[in-house]
Symmetry: C2
Subunit: 444 residues, 2 copies
């Protein structure tokens, strides 16, 4: 049995003779904080609840105590500081550990109840994603993260030395998912890291994050795909309200019958003790707006923007607040983005001069998914690629996939850490990334 | 409904008047191979089996036929050549497509029945890995693939330009999994790409492959972990004999009641039509040998090697044949590797001067997993790191994780594509990687 002080506390009693007991107490008092100990003893019900322990109904009568791993005398981060409520009293501000200190000492910081809950929930979100899509006939594939070429001007990509030449790290796996669809897989998804040299101190950008990407054929209209993705999100949100299945539960029962979870909601409650959070609201089916409607809503609130301008981050957030006020939802879909601001493979909207069959999805006013219908006609794709000044030779591997038959298709990519951050209402994506990477952080 | 010729063939009949029928036949005969068509019609049982179609019991009375995506006239790869049995008649050797042609035209090549089966099975192996470990209380985590430092001499790693400095691509995620264990996660796994600049034309090395990595605490002996991994493998092997669950089945029922799978074994049978394969044999529980025993077996068969030498690839294969002959198993565990050939964090064997608490696991005589007990005592780890001339400063992020308490732990990393290749008995790992990467291949 591994016992740490903060992870879950239990009243520990040495039931031996007085003399040995004093020696024992002295021995125990010399065990440094955060040491790992093995304890052999008897668990018993307490006559009355113990206020100072997380296990209030039981106490442990120790027979043996072994120090398995002795922690250093001085901790660079105290767990009580790492776990101090972020929105708590201002008097705590000085002793509350800052994010960099916590990340620098992640092996300690991960032991806080909130971090245990955050990363176990992140695994659950990913599990839901996979199980829901697998049940809908999607096949998981493992596309490469090393590429010969990337779109854009080359400043938005990490370059690798690759033997005598060079290569690039994938910003997303979409093109390979699409080739798998051209290769008759019909519905595929992939989960894995993507890489973007974001050089900002933004609360929501990392240089590496986990991308959940899906692609599928459709029969009549790309909204068939939008509906699949929409129901994926609502199923995940609803799943987080349900009781965990046995498989997911097992991790909580290190000592059976003592520390059991009733629901993911109790994890969320634990997180709320450190980060005060508004519950996440959503509609089922989700709200779907079209881009021109969003532009109108923003203009009515004093924003000046053109019909083909992208949403700036402040406008994205403002739109989220306007949508929340009007529709009472933290999740919505924005369809029909202007073609001019989407990549060359995006299918234009046949009913509009400036629109496209593409969409973003938002949580608490921040983008969590980008997707769209992809052009599946080779000749039209070539025309769009040339129009967008794509290097035809470097992207031959992609373009050629459409020469020999490809069904209509659409898809999208989701940022896992962003979904977790925004579902929980955390204010920094680094809190939802176990070992975050940004322009200044390469460790731990 | 999407119909391709080779994916599954069905007898198609136009039931219209004679004149229109002739026009229709002419129209159909002009549809190029591999085009995607939408067909509206009635499915009917046939009076007798149709030999030339994969759907032998039904035929389709066409009412409408639309060409959704017209393939180019000339195919760079014919599906019948891509799917020609590799171990078939020598007379086929000239027309059988070679692997590079197939990989260059992967969007076509993926349409073969064997490739459809291989990559759907790969997804299933990964699904089993996750579900089995989740049921055992493991938490999935998403460690970074960008690192500040790597072990070794720097020639075995890909270097990235990282803003004004540089960084490296992960060869494995083990160190971060270990930090998660130090951070109280007890049992973690991760699935994702790893990167190794293998510059050989080897049949079993890729520069990027999918790594299934797990790490866990144990109570008394690292063999608790070996047993968990061993039962993971046998559970996967046994799972492949079972009927798929409904969720896994859905992908096969594009037209319900026509094309349903009874078991993963029918996928394997499809693969065997192209690649003739010996069924995979295993013992339950698996065979566990110690390294010195393996050295003796090899020496008895004329191999000259020292007690602390690593297994060369030919010796690894020879050992696999010897084990198969003696124990009739294609899967076994080799425990107690010499300390001298393992990395610095490996726990030495307390009962031997040269051994260590580390292990590899083998399928058909080739390594599919490397793992071991990790040193969890900070001071001893520092001693070993210095002995192995590790750059202490660069690895501070790892070493420091052991200063503040860490339970005993062990784990290992599995190559997904290699497991699929060897379970199926394929002769090249590129066949089990949808978009393989090697020193010469960066596309598609």
């Amino acid at each position: 049995m591994i016992v740490r002080q903060q992870q879950w506390s239990i009243q520990v009693l040495a039931v031996v003779s007085d003399t040995i007991s004093k020696q024992f107490v002295k021995f125990c008092s010399n065990i440094t904080k955060e040491s790992v100990v093995d304890i052999k003893g008897k668990v018993a019900r307490t006559p009355s609840k113990i206020g100072s322990c997380s296990q209030k109904d039981v106490e442990l009568y120790i027979e043996e105590l072994w120090v398995v791993s002795q922690s250093a005398d001085q901790l660079p981060l105290l767990l009580e500081d790492a776990y101090r409520p972020v929105n708590g009293d201002d008097k705590d501000a000085d002793i509350r550990a800052n994010l960099d200190t916590k990340l620098d000492n992640r092996a300690i910081d991960l032991r806080t109840p909130a971090n245990q809950a955050i990363f176990r929930l992140e695994a659950v979100v990913c599990k839901f994603f996979r199980e829901i899509l697998t049940a809908k006939g999607f096949v998981e594939i493992f596309p490469p993260r090393i590429k010969n070429a990337v779109t854009g001007n080359g400043t938005n990509v990490f370059k690798i030395s690759y033997f005598k030449g060079s290569a690039y790290l994938a910003q997303c796996p979409t093109f390979h998912n699409i080739i798998a669809i051209a290769g008759d897989f019909e519905r595929v998804f992939t989960i894995g890291p993507v890489f973007r040299p974001e050089d900002s101190n933004s609360h929501r950008h990392l240089t590496e994050f986990t991308n959940l990407n899906l692609e599928m054929t459709f029969k009549h209209h790309y909204h068939e795909v939008v509906d699949v993705i929409a129901s994926l999100f609502t199923s995940i949100f609803k799943g987080l309200r349900e009781k965990p299945t046995a498989g997911t539960l097992t991790w909580t029962i290190q000592i059976e019958n003592i520390h059991q979870l009733d629901s993911y909601q109790s994890e969320i409650k634990t997180i709320c003790e450190q980060y005060s959070v508004e519950p996440f609201k959503f509609l089922d089916p989700p709200l779907k707006l079209e881009f021109p409607m969003a532009v109108n809503m923003l203009r009515e609130n004093g924003v000046e923007m053109g019909d083909e301008d992208d949403l700036s981050i402040p406008n994205e957030k403002l739109l989220g607040r306007l949508v929340k006020a009007k529709y009472d939802t933290d999740f919505y879909i924005l369809d029909k983005f202007p073609l001019a601001i989407r990549s060359f493979e995006t299918m234009p909207d046949p009913d509009s001069k400036v629109g496209s069959n593409s969409y973003d999805m938002f949580m608490r006013g921040e983008e969590v998914l980008t997707g769209g219908q992809r052009i599946h006609d080779y000749h039209y794709l070539m025309k769009r690629a040339k129009h967008c000044q794509v290097d035809i030779e470097k992207f031959a591997y992609y373009l050629d996939a459409f020469r020999y038959g490809c069904p209509p298709l659409a898809g999208g990519g989701i940022g896992l850490e962003r979904v977790v951050m925004l579902y929980l209402g955390l204010d920094n994506i680094r809190i939802a990334s176990m070992f975050p990477r940004d322009s200044k952080r390469l460790t731990p």
